[in-house]
Symmetry: D2
Subunit: 315 residues, 4 copies
């Protein structure tokens, strides 16, 4: 990630603010507020605003349950109870806003989470930066043989070089032609004073999907956790997962108690179907139990065995 001097200056100005407020404050999050955290080759995330912290969750729950919550003595106990029993509304009382720089193909996955507010840099108004994502060699994987949406073995040697070369050259050539059509370079200088440039809203269509864009993305804690649960999962594409991983660390600073409950009950948790539950019951009781008498499909059986780290996989 290379920040421009202008960006560095803006970040320093934002960080130098010292305002008084009667609002609650997340001390640990304040320490990294506005800081650009590097993701992929040119991307970043920055927390640029927030509202509430762990105590806001507790406060909302106590308003809801009234005297009914008095028995749960600690904030931590209450937040865990809420997370465990999916009492979700108190988690909506915290809000956070990120500034994110990300490749367009990642933005396309991300935007499918509809319960957020977004302001994206508009390529109808302005020229996109001359930056595109090129995977590191250790992420150049072949299509998985047995998982339609996953990655398989690494691609090495000449084939890897050739792929990276194609990605780089195609991105550079399409960007150069984008400038050519606009009759304007990425730095705002005009190419040929005697000509008009093509409308930006049209020229942008020549860019490749690994071109970087940026946006402000704002959501409440509940929807953020839903997003992170899906996108930190190892079925998520590596590129969006690195963003989710970086964001999860900011959640740990922001709402440490909710974070801990989330990791215990969601990230590290497991959902059993009613049939799988019967299998587990038999296993605990030491009863004979195998794929044949499990009522599960092969796929379900394998997923269940893997989730417990058992080796009895059916092929």
């Amino acid at each position: 990630m290379k920040l421009t001097d202008q960006q560095k200056k803006e970040i320093l100005e934002q960080q130098s603010q010292q305002n008084m407020t009667k609002r609650t404050v997340s001390v640990e999050l304040e320490k990294i507020l506005y800081e650009a955290i590097s993701v992929l080759d040119h991307g970043f995330i920055r927390v640029v605003d927030y509202m509430g912290e762990d105590s806001s969750i507790v406060q909302a729950a106590r308003v809801s349950y009234g005297k009914g919550t008095k028995k749960v003595s600690t904030d931590s106990g209450l937040i865990k109870y809420l997370m465990r029993h999916r009492h979700t509304t108190p988690f909506e009382m915290c809000e956070i806003k990120y500034h994110v720089k990300l490749p367009i193909f990642v933005a396309r996955q991300w935007i499918r989470h509809r319960t957020a507010n977004v302001n994206e840099y508009s390529a109808r108004y302005s020229i996109l930066d001359k930056e595109f994502y090129l995977p590191a060699k250790e992420h150049l994987a072949a299509q998985s043989k047995n998982n339609r949406q996953g990655r398989g073995n690494l691609i090495n040697g000449k084939q890897a070089d050739a792929i990276l070369d194609m990605l780089k050259q195609d991105a550079e050539r399409t960007y150069k032609n984008y400038e050519e059509m606009l009759n304007e370079r990425f730095d705002g200088t005009t190419i040929d004073e005697s000509k008009d440039g093509l409308a930006r809203e049209l020229a942008r269509m020549n860019l490749t999907l690994n071109t970087y864009t940026q946006w402000y993305w704002k959501t409440d804690l509940l929807n953020l956790l839903n997003f992170l649960n899906l996108r930190t999962d190892n079925h998520a594409q590596y590129e969006i997962r690195t963003y989710a991983d970086a964001m999860l660390k900011t959640v740990k600073k922001w709402v440490p108690i909710a974070y801990e409950a989330f990791v215990d009950y969601r990230v590290g948790g497991l959902e059993l179907s009613s049939k799988s539950k019967l299998v587990i019951e038999k296993m605990i009781k030491g009863q004979a139990c195998n794929f044949e008498n499990s009522n599960l499909s092969k796929r379900e059986w394998n997923e269940l065995m893997e989730s417990f780290g058992f080796t009895e996989k059916i092929i």
Copy 2:
């Protein structure tokens, strides 16, 4: 509005906070943060948290439009432009949270605005306060003759007294029986130690719709303005309108520029249909124009004349 000593103490504690933050701050809103603003006879609203202010709208817009916004030199000019052209997403970047005490029938109208986060006091867990709304005499209106959902003439004298008496006695009696069924009084004392009380989730059904409830209600600025536009309108029921009016004043303190644009373009504005626009065009050109050649229905014609304060009403 009577606050309990406990509530007064909590408010003072909240107001006495002096935290340092790098976030932007709305200086005027900070001055009334947590303060209970009286609405109706026992209700209130309180701003209990917020995120962003006018500059956050500007910042989001500038991220979107990039260099494209440089020509609009002032924040005020930009915010007005966004409001006028319904570029709505930058207004979503501000968030506010209210604590509201309100009669249940008002809560039922309010909750129809779905784009908000809500934590309501739960009558499954806890006993509702012994407080119910009784209209002031000057709001006791008859059903309107020509408007199916409005109020007509005032009701006076003995009929008014009789109505207020019924409302008061019915609310008191149903609340007393609520306590009886619960076998517990509003202050938590048990009525008859030898008996079990009815489950709270059942007993509450005996309460009348003017009983007060309370909630935390959190929304972004865009959806708040949509809510206020509908609920400060003179077609809105008086009781919810008083809440909207009180909230509108807090918006003025929070985001004064957005407030001004909202009042100019929305609250005081007017929507013309394509047919009404033709009528207005004729009028401006001094062409003969009346109901008969207007292509409007009687109702449309009357609404149009009224909106401009003209007297040519068709009955």
Copy 3:
């Protein structure tokens, strides 16, 4: 449930329609379309429209995955896969609309599910029916001692009679006074021709929360299943649960394959936290495992044991 003659006539007219369509059809659901299914003492649900069925889920998934879905040979296999892995968007492609008659306190719980479209009978415009919910004796339970939101032992004998009497008399008296204030009876007749009635939007506040209202409620299959998962749960209040149970039966007729997957993976399923998963792993391996070395709270331990039907409860 007593339907008026007018309602019966309308239902018969709706059911007698025989239209040709190129849309997909759910044969089993068509058989009960428009039929009023009785719930509680005066309530009902009716399916009044729908769009799509099991094949619509499959079709949407195949558009998404393209050739990638060819390997999953059966519709049933694909729907189960989607449900298991929370690939939720294909389930949003089916839509259903219910007409529901329900007590106001149930409506207040229901409306908290925000992702639905609602048109409720308006008590600002019209007079509410003279119908209120009175629990059957076998549902008159005491407040639970150990669960803040639940029901405990049944209430019997004189206390039960007294409670039902209060509920009945209070509902009748407040309704009678509602008519009095309106100067109009439930059947539309005027009480005193010489007087104006109080505005409906005001008079309604005198009604108790067990008064029946009605609405059209429309949602997609995904959000319906989320609603049913929460509201058929035994932690849900009995009164809303009976509505959810009745609706679940209509889902079985509408989308039988999705229904089966839902029951297996959601209703009968179990979520394990990461700590609970470690306990289960130990148990399967026959390792010593008890509350003390489980890292779980008492409450978590008890919930885990109960979910598997084991008796080692800690008090």
Copy 4:
């Protein structure tokens, strides 16, 4: 638009269905159900399912207002009243589902409308079609000089040829390299049997933003009209506007009364700010009125004059 034989066959099969239903039917919409309506060079829209029609809006409104709607005698009168007064919820009772083929840069604008259900063809699972949008010559416009997001004069002659050439060659080259990386051609044939192909989720990043994608897009009538109001506007980018225009024609077939009200009150309507309203009032009264005494900004004055077709523009 060229449909494959497989697509043509599917459409014919869908159209040949003749099912009986008790649901309401939109006779005109049924006639074009499933039909692919050509948009841009390779795109299309198809209505693939729907629920409800004009009478469903009326029915929902009558449930809401009860006897209160009896005075509005016709369905048409009622629907116009609802549209005029922004009583929006009855319009949510109709639902429609489109199958759309569209360039990725159009999809990126479209998806910003969050209140819809979407299933998009996944380039993680499957190979995208070898089809990309190339503008017709009459749409090759220069960047507007006075509107940051608009198009200005046409670009002609050699410059136009050069631009189209760049767009075509870049799209073809990046697609060819996409196949190369995948080691698989668009038709599914393998290029080099001795090699693994790059994972699809990675290779796709090499494609340009004018590559076509496709999705199922489902929404209710209210949100569809909001979408169409914004996207049929002449400020919308031409490419998405052509989709909106084609969809608007399907709305006319589906719900002709709501369509007519929409065109009168929204599409052809005008919003006046409170300051603009004062200007119009003066004009009607024949009072002296010009930019200087209008209290409007230059931009507002010009927009107001233009909206009425007056020529007194301030530069």
